[in-house]
């Protein structure tokens, strides 16, 4: 096997413009992410129109940089993979339009990748051998889902959040505590110095057998109420303890539902994916809780937990091998789901 199959991945679903070159769906030759964080800070959140404008300004240089860092040219590529949903429609359209134009002008096959599925493939960049069927927990700012993955592109949703996504709740609590955006990393850090037992927040485990859905709005409301009451007392907020107790509640729910899914389906491997997969407490508790269940727990490297194009290129490699190519009438699908990838 001389030649590696090289895929250029393009990802613009939210506020990061990313491009990457990946060999054989595993070897990351380059991984370029241009963050827009500073552009949105003054508005206190991501502004879709501004995100779209910024994507258009940087996408071509980002692609050039990904090629240069990988030490390859367009002529070395075997295909182009692009995120077509879910996400912000204006942002997605910039990536999709660029990818189609490149595919056409270079006569390269085009692959359309579901962003959420892309997150799963971040685990293929660990060097570990991934074998189906397996269970995957996707946790991010927009999604919280437990999946039964039976093969490439064969997904069954076991459970999903009925209200807020876990990452979204981290952001909201961080904002209420004045910790800035994104909230996950700061809360994770402060929680390490706090004692979770000082407060007690609801777990929302929703007993019914086989039901693997999540709910985080109860935790959110309880924590927000607590913060308000603490503030009313006029004393400095017990930041560390609040963070620890809140994080415990969210992580508990994620870990417990994951364990139930593993007990029920008894897979060999369990994958963690999405931005919240970077959370140290979640990683630790999952490994601890799943260890007796004889399941191998795999996490993506930290840099591939957040949005990136390497995971899109990795997913694209398997689609390309299967011959599932996109046509040029490909559109952005902002509401794309996991049920029908």
């Amino acid at each position: 096997m001389g030649h590696k199959t090289l895929i250029l991945g393009i990802e613009t679903s939210c506020d990061d413009t990313a491009a990457s070159v990946v060999g054989n769906g595993r070897d990351v030759l380059s991984n370029v992410v241009s963050s827009q964080e500073s552009f949105h800070q003054r508005f206190g959140g991501i502004v879709p129109e501004i995100a779209s404008r910024r994507h258009l300004e940087v996408i071509n240089p980002v692609i050039d940089e990904a090629l240069a860092k990988a030490g390859v040219t367009f002529a070395d590529l075997d295909g182009i993979a692009v995120t077509y949903g879910p996400g912000l429609v204006g942002s997605l359209l910039v990536g999709v339009s660029a990818a189609k134009a490149l595919s056409f002008s270079l006569d390269l096959p085009l692959v359309a990748v579901n962003h959420l599925e892309g997150h799963i493939y971040a685990n293929f960049l660990t060097g570990a051998t991934i074998a189906f069927p397996l269970i995957c927990l996707i946790v991010s700012g927009g999604h919280t889902s437990l999946l039964h993955v039976k093969g490439h592109g064969q997904l069954e949703v076991l459970g999903r959040t009925r209200d807020d996504a876990a990452g979204e709740v981290f952001d909201k609590i961080a904002r209420a505590l004045g910790l800035g955006f994104p909230g996950g990393p700061v809360i994770d850090q402060l929680a390490q110095q706090g004692e979770g037992e000082k407060f007690s927040f609801p777990r929302a485990l929703m007993g019914t057998e086989g039901k693997l859905d999540f709910s985080f709005s109860g935790v959110k409301t309880a924590v927000l109420n607590r913060i308000r009451r603490e503030k009313e007392q006029g004393k400095p907020l017990p930041l560390n303890d609040l963070c620890a107790a809140f994080q415990d509640a969210v992580v508990d729910a994620l870990v417990e539902k994951s364990a139930r899914a593993v007990e029920y389906l008894q897979p060999r491997q369990f994958l963690l994916a999405g931005g919240v997969a970077a959370n140290g407490e979640l990683r630790k508790r999952l490994r601890f809780r799943l260890a007796p269940l004889e399941v191998e727990v795999i996490y993506p490297p930290l840099e591939y937990c957040t949005d990136n194009a390497a995971m899109i290129a990795a997913a694209g490699y398997y689609y390309l091998r299967q011959g599932s190519l996109a046509s040029y009438d490909l559109n952005a699908e902002p509401g794309l789901d996991l049920e029908n990838p």
Binding site: F43, E49, G90, A101, L102, D329
Partner: protein
Amino acid sequence: MLLLALDTTTTVCSVALGDEGKLWAEYSLNISKTHSQRLMPLLVDLIRDTGVDKKKIEGIAVTTGPGSFTGIRIGMATALGLSQGLGVPVVGVTTLDALAWAGIFSPGLVCPVLDARKDQVYFALYRGGGDVPQEVEPARAASLETLSETVSRHGEPALFLGDGLDRFRAALRSAAGSLYREIPAFSRLNRASLVLQEGFRIWQERGPAPAYALNPFYLRLSEAERRFQEKSR
């Protein structure tokens, strides 16, 4: 010089291919369907039907606005992707400058008008009758009152065109009164051949844009920026 032109800034999705002296082909759709789904298939057909080797294309001309923000980005992201993949330069053309070519035979005023939503229009004034349209009033986003004041100030008949007529014809007609003239439907809307024409002119005059330095001509701030500026005033 073989130039490929694209336009997706308004309700029309249009592609054209031509040399300076010859328009090889032009495909246009005005069916208000997603440009993102239509643009590339139109382009693939255009290249296939003309039998032109795409590696012979020497440059891309694209409308940079004003128009629909999303439409501007679909066209520009495609043009820049083609430019990157084919290794050829891009020339940016404003939607109104391109449209003005449809009125080149008129010696009087030519007024392209685009629907800018929020009860506003994008417009500019040109004078036809020469070799190229001469700009008389620069492009702006404005109310219909501003448009009618501007036209009345010049006190001569003006030839209106553009997709702004679809929504504002009655209002424009009453605002411009006896000065109102209209280009017939067959030549009223954006077409990539007009973009090609203006693209050649700009290319000869000042050359294409340096790589990736093509600026969108939104002509209006995003809603969030507008509100932010108002607050910080």
